[in-house]
């Protein structure tokens, strides 16, 4: 059941749980994740016939429903022969991990779940998110960046790593990073050659599921996040959650910016993709509401100029060295003049 996984055999295949958003409003997260995974040789295969994790509506309405809906997908992954599930959407990651923990720790739940979902279930599958996966692959990201022939547009660019809630909280559910001062996404940003800025709103909430039902709260919370990122010099905010993305990107227009240019919101996978030389189109960067084109164009131009300058300096140095060598050859045997001493 391993389908048409892209794998170089170096890593075992991972079950891929895209979740509903990555098949819909955040399809660029799916596109960029697939492109980057292929580039890094990480084999991912979509779980066959996966269903929605229930997101916050599930567990807000009923605790058992909030566990059973994700559990069905863990059971599918298990049955399809995987030991790890990749859930890039922070909400899916959180619900899958929370279900896994609840079933392992709550009295009677492990016995009850197979009956509720109508499937055998041993709760043996690990759940990982995309930031965790990329952090653990940081060395190979760095290698790829160094081996890429086109100049890296992200070199030295200031980016704000925004984790929000569901990637890091609750700590006992997520646990792959610190819930108050996470660094995993900053590490990925650094591996891409960019500068992860220090800022205050890394783990603040963007308003999550109130995007549609209480937009005013989302605009208030998003505004504070964007203001703080900008105040700390960020040229873009990096996210790993479809809901954070939509709340900061789609809703930015409603935030009544005071004359500033809007701040692009990038998925972490798009950042890695740019650094390893993938095209903006292949990463779905044109799908955002805040136009990413001006930033990307400027970064590509800057990188090209930097590259040309580096090449010029190198050429100059090479020319000087050649000149010196030629002079030495011509003047071999003659006494050196004062000026040629060094």
């Amino acid at each position: 059941m391993r389908g048409d996984a892209v794998s170089d055999g170096a890593l075992a295949d991972i079950a891929y749980y895209p979740g509903c958003s990555l098949h819909g409003t955040s399809r660029e997260f799916d596109e960029s994740l697939r492109a980057v995974a292929a580039e890094l040789g990480i084999g991912i295969t979509e779980i066959s016939d996966w269903s929605c994790c229930g997101a916050s509506s599930g567990h807000t309405t009923d605790h058992l429903l909030g566990v059973a809906l994700p559990a069905r997908n863990l059971a599918l992954a298990e049955e399809q022969g995987y030991d790890t599930v990749l859930a890039p959407c922070a909400a899916c990651y959180n619900r899958l991990s929370a279900a896994r923990l609840a079933i392992a720790t709550e009295d009677g739940l492990a016995e009850r779940i197979p009956d509720v979902i109508g499937r055998r279930f041993g709760n043996t599958v690990q759940v990982r998110n995309a930031v965790e996966l990329l952090r653990d692959a940081a060395a190979s990201v760095e290698e790829k960046v160094a081996a890429t022939l086109t100049p890296n547009p992200l070199e030295g660019v200031k980016l704000a790593a925004y984790y929000g809630c569901l990637l890091v909280r609750p700590a006992e559910v997520c646990g792959y990073d610190d819930p108050e001062q996470p660094t995993s996404m900053d590490e990925v940003i650094s591996a891409c050659g960019a500068d992860a800025v220090d800022w205050n709103m890394k783990v603040e909430c963007c308003g999550g599921a109130f995007s549609v039902s209480r937009t005013s709260s989302v605009v208030r919370l998003g505004r504070a996040i964007i203001d703080d990122a900008r105040a700390h010099g960020a040229e873009a905010i990096v996210v790993a959650c479809p809901l954070c993305h939509s709340n900061l990107d789609l809703r930015q227009k409603a935030m009544a910016l005071r004359g500033e240019d809007p701040l692009p919101i990038l998925f972490v996978t798009q950042v890695v993709g740019l650094a390893v030389g993938l095209t903006p189109e292949s990463l779905g960067l044109e799908r955002h509401f805040v136009d990413t084109e001006p930033l990307i164009a400027r970064l590509i131009e800057q990188a090209a100029a930097r590259d040309a300058e580096e090449r010029r300096v190198k050429q100059e140095a090479a020319a000087k060295a050649a000149e010196r060598a030629a002079r030495q050859k011509a003047g071999a045997g003659a006494a050196p003049k004062d000026g040629d001493a060094q």
């Binding site: 509903c20 958003s21 098949h23 819909g24 409003t25 955040s26 399809r27 016939d49 996966w50 269903s51 929605c52 229930g54 997101a55 916050s56 509506s57 599930g58 567990h59 807000t60 309405t61 009923d62 605790h63 058992l64 429903l65 059973a68 809906l69 069905r72 009956d115 509720v116 979902i117 109508g118 499937r119 809630c165 909280r169 609750p170 700590a171 819930p179 108050e180 783990v203 603040e204 909430c205 308003g207 999550g208 599921a209 109130f210 549609v212 039902s213 209480r214 937009t215 709260s217 919370l221 789609l250 044109e286 799908r287 955002h288 509401f289």
Partner: protein, 180 residues
Amino acid sequence: MTSESRRTLAGEIFAATGVNAATCYQCGKCSAGCPMASESALRPHAVMRLVMQDRREQALTDESIWLCLTCETCSARCPNDCDPARVIDAVRELSIEAGSADMPRTISAFHKAFLEQIRSNGRLHEFGMVMDYKLRSGELMKDVTSAPGMLTRGKLSFRAERIEALDEIRRIFEKCGVTP
């Protein structure tokens, strides 16, 4: 806890979640970090207090419990591991059970529309969800200006993805006793 104490709100919540609300010493750190504090009449520490004092009516009927974003900041920062987020989750469930839910219409419409999508397709069809939400909430004109942009960016699909084993999803909803 005895069967007597289970009849108190704190007892019921302890039975359902294992969280003892009485361990909260009202330091207010949860409320200091709550992103919805400025919009809520009852902040997280106040919900904990009502639970401790067995003031069921106030706790279950206040709109504030529905303004919780479940961001978990309160629980992450609680110095005494009281888990206010889990307590508020439990208060919401009790509120639905008691039929006393004063959930704002838009928020209840969102959750119902969301779950209905899962029940009928196995996956969330965002366009279908938003249309259903509009009908349930009465917010017919909400976000209509975003739709064209969503379409041109390939973010909105009119066709729902439907899973094959839809009967399994129906079973889960039935077993949990949830009808959106």
